[in-house]
């Protein structure tokens, strides 16, 4: 693979939440994302997994500057996005796109499919003629598996899978270099999900896209990603090349997540041991001291409450934040 294109360093998104004080408000920071770092190469797909509230969607949006980071930096091709003004950012945005979870809600119901897909062209290629725009849109529709004859139809006339294809066509029409996919297939039927996953992988290869694929579905993430990052309460627990993460997970949270994934095979599903997680997700307003996962961790000891675990390297490109990673080797 080629050179690093995206550098995310110590990215933080904190929201002030009013927690008391009748007249003079008292605010506590809600740490939606708290110091996440990673790098991506051109043509690489990073899968981001974790439970609801772990900060995975916040991460995708903060990378694209769709929400303002409280701290840290995002650099794209060496330019620090977090330091750009609005005009410079708009220029950079041409290369960055997002595909959302809810296919119907992310399309304007009063625009036709053709207008929706052409909107980025109208924004970034104002000089382009109508005819050229239309032919580009039709080409893109064919590419994502939509019949170009449907160009004048409205979103409600399409099925969920087709709406998601419209969303993907809109994201791809400017030939972006970085695409964030936020749960792009979660709302789709099983038979349609595989079609859309294949489409995304095909586009990713053909266009050499750098992709951030956010999902709670660990089976799909394994299929589509080159590397996988596991988040919990806004912090990275583990990041590793795909095969290392699935075959040799070192963080107890990764192991618990993997052991909870339903397996479509009754003999395996009923026989394999599960690592149960104690209790519930702590409030992000009042995260545990030391390791944020310790309150639910089967291996937590005194050191986990006292110290934030340092970054450790069990293997090449494999980072884990756990005091006990050496002891946590399990048979997959």
């Amino acid at each position: 693979m080629s050179e690093t294109v995206l550098e995310v360093k110590d990215l933080k998104v904190h929201y002030p939440v009013r927690t008391g004080g009748l007249i003079v408000g008292r605010y506590t920071p809600l740490k939606a994302l708290d110091g996440v770092s990673f790098e991506l190469k051109a043509g690489e797909t990073l899968g981001v997994v974790g439970e609801s509230g772990c900060g995975k969607s916040t991460l995708g949006r903060a990378v694209l500057q769709l929400l303002t980071a409280t701290g840290g930096a995002v650099a794209w091709l060496g330019r620090t996005l977090t330091a750009l003004d609005a005009k410079e950012l708009k220029a950079e945005r041409e290369h960055m796109q997002i595909v959302f979870q809810d296919p119907l809600a992310s399309l304007d119901p009063r625009m036709t499919a053709g207008d929706i897909i052409a909107e980025p062209l109208r924004n970034y290629r104002p000089a382009m003629s109508k005819a050229e725009m239309k032919s580009k849109v039709k080409d893109m529709m064919v590419r994502v598996g939509l019949h170009p004859a449907m160009i004048n139809r409205y979103p409600h006339e399409f099925s969920g899978g087709q709406c998601q294809r419209i969303g993907i066509a809109r994201a791809m029409i400017l030939d972006p270099k970085l695409v964030v996919c936020d749960e792009p297939v979660s709302a789709l039927d099983v038979s349609i999900r595989a079609q859309v996953v294949n489409l995304l992988m095909e586009l990713q290869r053909a266009m050499n896209l750098t992709m951030i694929f956010i999902s709670h579905d660990l089976s799909i993430v394994r299929h589509i990603s080159h590397r996988v990052m596991v988040l919990y309460l806004g912090k990275t627990m583990e990041i590793a090349p795909r095969d290392a993460l699935y075959a040799d997970p070192r963080h107890p949270y990764t192991q618990a997540l993997l052991s909870a994934v339903p397996v479509p095979d009754p003999s395996v599903a009923r026989a394999r041991p599960r690592i149960p997680l104690a209790g519930e997700l702590p409030s992000p307003l009042n995260p545990p001291s030391g390791c944020v996962f310790r309150t639910r961790c089967p291996r937590a000891t005194a050191v986990c409450a006292a110290l934030v675990p340092p970054q450790e390297q069990p293997g090449a490109g494999h980072d884990v934040w756990c005091h006990h990673w050496r002891e946590t080797k399990v048979a997959p």
Partner: protein, 327 residues
């Protein structure tokens, strides 16, 4: 001897719409035995939810169900509202997908639980409270006493779904119909809820109908599986047969396009081409034929009946000439 607790026979559900009648469910016959979990698998519009909405007497006003659904001595489709109200929430319970809409937002969750006990069991407030707190602990809600006094919006999605499950289980139902009970939940919480359902099934003989699109969930809990497509059951077999030796091309396709953690990733996932059909414009013959790789002329002309052929399935490929001719 296995005891049938629910016996659905020739169920048809039709909705009257402005564009004409829609056949949501056609000729569905299914049964659930005591202590058994029947998995219902299908995609949007397959009729999997409407089948059991009809059984529960919860169809929308423009819907009409024919056939029969025997639950003990009662035919649920012919019972009046009064009879249904003594059965539902008591001997027959339902768990819906979205726990937020299943709970009343302005009522403390504890009160919503005790109401069930007071109504169906005639308990006094104190006894009902003790029972409700005990049930909350059983569905693994930590600090049940404190949670008892909370409103639904104060609880996380996983906790809310556990409250809904606790509510369904309060009166010790013979049958629980669970429609996508874990779809909105994280995998770790999903695993806990499925464990709990398994325990009830095995230790207390509670029957379950598990409606889901997730084959992994079915594999972990169901004893038998019915696969539905375009309003009909297309395959009905034991969970082992469905996963190890499926016979209907749709079942095979669904299994193939579900990625597994245990398989090596491939460059391209197998898919089922096309999309689930519009119920108002159903294809001729077998509803699955436009998406089927093994389609031949007869599939376009004639609808295969559900018949024995390896498993109980609706595909000409598996039926001997005699069985196919009877269709």
């Amino acid at each position: 001897m296995t005891q049938r607790i629910l016996d659905i026979s020739d169920l048809n559900v039709r909705f009257a719409t402005e564009d004409g009648e829609v056949a949501a469910v056609s000729d569905v016959s299914l049964h659930v035995n005591k202590g058994e979990c029947l998995g219902i698998v299908g995609e949007s519009g397959s009729g999997k939810s409407q089948t059991f909405m009809a059984v529960m007497g919860l169809l929308a006003a423009n819907g009409k169900a024919t056939g029969s659904a025997r639950f003990g001595e009662i035919d649920l489709l012919k019972a009046n509202e009064h009879t249904l109200n003594t059965v539902r929430g008591n001997r027959l319970a339902m768990v819906f997908q979205d726990p937020m809409t299943a709970l009343t937002p302005h009522m403390r969750v504890g009160r919503q639980l005790t109401e069930v006990l007071e109504r169906h069991r005639g308990m006094d407030t104190k006894a009902a409270r003790a029972e409700a707190v005990a049930m909350m602990a059983r569905v693994q809600i930590t600090e049940p006493e404190r949670r008892f006094a909370m409103y639904p919006h104060e609880l996380s999605g996983g906790l809310r779904q556990r409250i809904v499950l606790a509510m369904a289980l309060l009166c010790g139902p013979e049958l629980v119909i669970a429609d996508e009970p874990t779809t909105a939940l994280d995998v770790t919480v999903q695993a806990l809820i499925l464990d709990l359902m398994r325990e009830l099934k095995e230790k207390h003989g509670t029957g379950f109908v598990l409606i889901t699109h997730d084959l992994g969930v079915v594999a972990g809990l169901a004893d038998r599986v019915a696969v539905m497509y375009a309003g009909r059951v297309v395959e009905n077999a034991s969970v082992a047969e469905i996963f190890a030796a499926p016979r209907h091309p749709y079942t095979k396709g669904l299994l193939a396009c579900t990625p597994r953690l245990t398989d090596a990733p491939t460059a391209v996932l197998p898919t089922i081409p096309g999309q689930p059909p519009n119920l108002q414009k159903l294809p001729s013959g077998c509803s699955f034929h436009p998406r089927c790789a093994a389609v031949f002329d007869r599939c376009r002309a004639e609808r295969p009946a559900l018949a024995e052929g390896g498993t109980l399935n609706a595909c000409f490929l598996n039926h001997s000439v005699a069985a196919g001719g009877a269709a």
